[in-house]
């Protein structure tokens, strides 16, 4: 129904909350309980603030390369709020807000980008795969997870992310198609943030929308205002309903914008105009949602200031903790290659331990 009404081939895009925080599509406004609405907002703020702070640290030479999610928080928090704990998050690499919503801590996220694999061992019960660096390769993981979920009748679905650039990859095609033929419970979300590093969306494909790529797999596709958390919530809810009903996967294009650099190694002024960034700043997902909550009397300036203060503190303390954390040990870098060390690896590990001993003896 929703997917019939918002056919990307007819250039339709789903929006519920406009940039001013006004509900422009009353019929589709989801009934989300207050607690969840506040969680969504808070996670968006936490994600944004942790990105901003990490950027600062990075400029001070204290943080390593990372990929900020700034600007894309709604596209991540909406779908996570629409899904259940048992559902799986299969991320690309820019899904800070989605991870935080799912139960990954800022500490874990920082630790990972700080260069320690320990940060990508999310707690048991957090159904999320680690950061996926090879572009496009994660969609078939989501299909496999969904296959197992259906096979084991857990009722869970997978929610998987990819970027606009990722849709050009062969593995995007294979993953969605595989899920399609098997009618698997997956929601595929493209975060079209208009760039793949320096390469604009238009250079990735001649298709007018990325949502229309769904046609290739015989599944529904929808283009959504990706800076509107309510629209993202609604589209994902509908897609999850399909998924749980055995109707198969759905493809959602979240139209959003990467407000920061690609990663901290990137200089976006090389390839995009400030004016473009400013235009998108006006459509910021957090401000928009703030106004919505204020209109609903769920939030106000005082609360916001208190939250800012609290998060500033915890983020700072968290980063300090990460900076003080033990670097990966010899055990850690060797012992997870296989379930148990092979004879050759045992020798190599001993060699490494000997080297350390010798250099410490000096």
């Amino acid at each position: 129904m929703l997917f019939d009404d918002y056919n990307p081939l007819e250039k339709k895009q789903l929006q519920i909350l406009d940039p001013d925080g006004k509900v422009v599509n009353k019929d589709l406004e989801p009934k989300i309980d207050d607690e969840t609405l506040l969680k969504m907002y808070k996670i968006m703020r936490l994600s944004r603030m942790s990105d901003e702070k990490a950027l600062q640290y990075q400029r001070q030479g204290r943080m390593l390369t990372f990929a900020p999610a700034m600007g894309q928080e709604a596209a991540q928090v909406g779908p996570m709020a629409a899904s259940e704990e048992k559902d799986w998050l299969v991320q690309a690499f820019r899904e800070t807000a989605a991870l935080l919503y799912k139960g990954v801590t800022v500490e874990q996220n920082y630790l990972y980008w700080y260069g320690n694999e320990r940060g990508s061992r999310y707690d048991d019960g957090v159904n999320a795969l680690p950061v996926n660096v090879p572009i496009g390769s994660q969609f078939s993981h989501a299909a496999g997870i969904a296959y197992a979920a259906r096979y084991k009748k857990t009722g869970a679905a997978a929610v998987a992310y990819i970027g606009d650039g990722g849709t050009s990859h062969g593995e995007f095609h294979e993953g969605v198609n595989f899920a399609g033929t098997n009618d698997l419970p997956v929601v595929f979300i493209i975060q079209n943030n208009h760039y793949a590093i320096s390469t604009p969306r238009a250079a990735q494909t001649r298709a007018a929308t990325l949502a229309q790529k769904a046609v290739a797999y015989g599944i529904p596709g929808i283009q959504v205002d990706g800076n509107d958390p309510l629209a993202m919530y609604v589209a994902t809810s509908e897609a999850l309903k399909r998924a749980r009903n055995g109707e198969g996967p759905t493809l959602i294009e979240a139209v959003t914008y990467r407000m920061g650099p690609h990663t901290t190694s990137d200089d976006p002024t090389l390839y995009r105009e400030d004016s473009e960034v400013e235009e998108w700043a006006k459509k910021d997902p957090i401000e928009r949602f703030n106004k919505y909550l204020a209109n609903k009397k769920l939030w106000n300036k005082d609360k916001d200031e208190a939250l800012t203060k609290e998060y500033k503190k915890t983020i700072k303390n968290t980063f300090k903790k990460v900076e003080a954390s033990e670097h990966p040990t010899v055990d850690e870098v060797f012992d997870f290659t296989y379930e148990s060390l092979t004879p050759e690896l045992k020798r190599q590990k001993e060699e490494r331990l000997r080297d350390i001993e010798e250099s410490e003896a000096k």
């Binding site: 078939s140 993981h141 593995e171």
Partner: protein, 326 residues
């Protein structure tokens, strides 16, 4: 206990493992309804249903990638790649994810995946159907690679692979799929991954081979024995992790070493074995360690393939040369 072929042993092992563990899922191109182009999975879909045995779209990336997802979510997938020469589109998943997920997640997600693929030449096949690509797996940390040379080992190694919590590449020597029969116990058993097998003890020279090359190697060794030389023959069985210790022990005894493989010479498994023999038994060496391998060329189409074949004759000649070197 019945006399069965290597192909049949694989089929029965898949059947037994599916019977014993409902988490075992089998799929691939033509693997379901037809039971595979070699009929290795014949009968399984009928017995276990389409949920557990199915035909995948032609997309090796998605075949391996979905297995990674299944494994992360508790299954033990046994995907098939139709021929090892077609693993390349799935190689990205194998190297960048399957081999690394345990390490990346610091042990949270293990990858109990067994990828079956027929390999090797000598069957008059089309291009890309005759490759021996051991190196491309054995070079990658986190992967295991096993190759049976007999029906008995096929069952034992495949059982061990499916039960292993790490990803195992299971190479099937298609040239000997139906070449001979052997008694294979009906009960479940494993042949340990990571252990080479001394097939025949001897004192004068050590020769290591695996898969389809075992037969020719044993024949060549027999000829040498008939001429009065004592040959120690080792079936490497597991290519990764490589049981070089067994090989080194043997070379310490014989002082002479020959490795045989179908794959191209440069950076074939032979290069690593020779290096390890050097590292472990250098001062026992009485002759230079030597390899009998394919040439560094693309496997020719059938009418030219004989130029590339590692024949019994070739093995025999090299063995003799090394055994009699003074």
């Amino acid at each position: 206990m019945a006399e069965i072929t290597l192909l049949n042993a694989i089929n029965k092992t898949l059947d037994q493992q599916m019977e014993n563990d409902e988490n075992v899922i089998v799929y691939g191109e033509d693997t379901g309804y037809e039971g595979g182009v070699f009929r290795v999975t014949a009968g399984l879909q009928k017995k276990y249903g389409k949920d557990r045995v199915f035909d995948a779209p032609i997309a090796e990336g998605a075949i391996i990638g979905s297995a990674i997802g299944m494994a992360a979510n508790g299954l033990r997938p046994v995907p098939e790649i139709q021929f090892s020469g077609f693993m390349f589109p799935g190689y990205n998943q194998i190297v960048t994810h399957m081999a690394r997920m345990r390490n990346r997640s610091r042990g949270k997600y293990q990858m109990p995946i067994t990828i079956r693929m027929p390999y090797g030449g000598g069957v008059n096949a089309l291009e890309h159907h005759s490759e021996s690509l051991e190196t491309l797996f054995a070079h990658i940390p986190g992967l295991k690679l096993v190759i049976p040379s007999t029906p008995y080992d096929a069952k034992g190694l495949l059982t061990a692979a499916i039960k292993d919590n790490d990803p195992v590449i299971f190479f099937e020597p298609k040239r000997i799929y139906r070449a001979f029969k052997q008694e294979v116990p009906d009960e479940e058993y494993t042949v340990p991954i990571g252990k080479a097998k001394v097939v025949q003890e001897g004192d004068d020279v050590t020769v290591v081979a695996w898969g389809a090359m075992m037969k020719d190697t044993l024949k060549a060794a027999k000829r040498l024995e008939d001429e009065g030389h004592s040959v120690e023959v080792i079936d490497l069985r597991t290519i990764a992790p490589m049981d070089s210790d067994t090989v080194i022990e043997s070379v310490k005894k014989t002082g002479r070493f020959v490795v045989v493989h179908e794959a191209v010479k440069t950076l074939g498994i032979g290069s690593e074995l020779i290096s390890r023999v050097n590292e472990g038994a250098f001062f026992h060496l009485e002759a230079q360690p030597t390899r009998v391998t394919g040439f560094d060329i693309t496997i020719p189409l059938p009418k030219g393939e004989h130029h590339q074949t590692v024949s019994e004759e070739k093995i025999y000649k090299k063995l003799k040369e090394v055994a009699t070197f003074k």
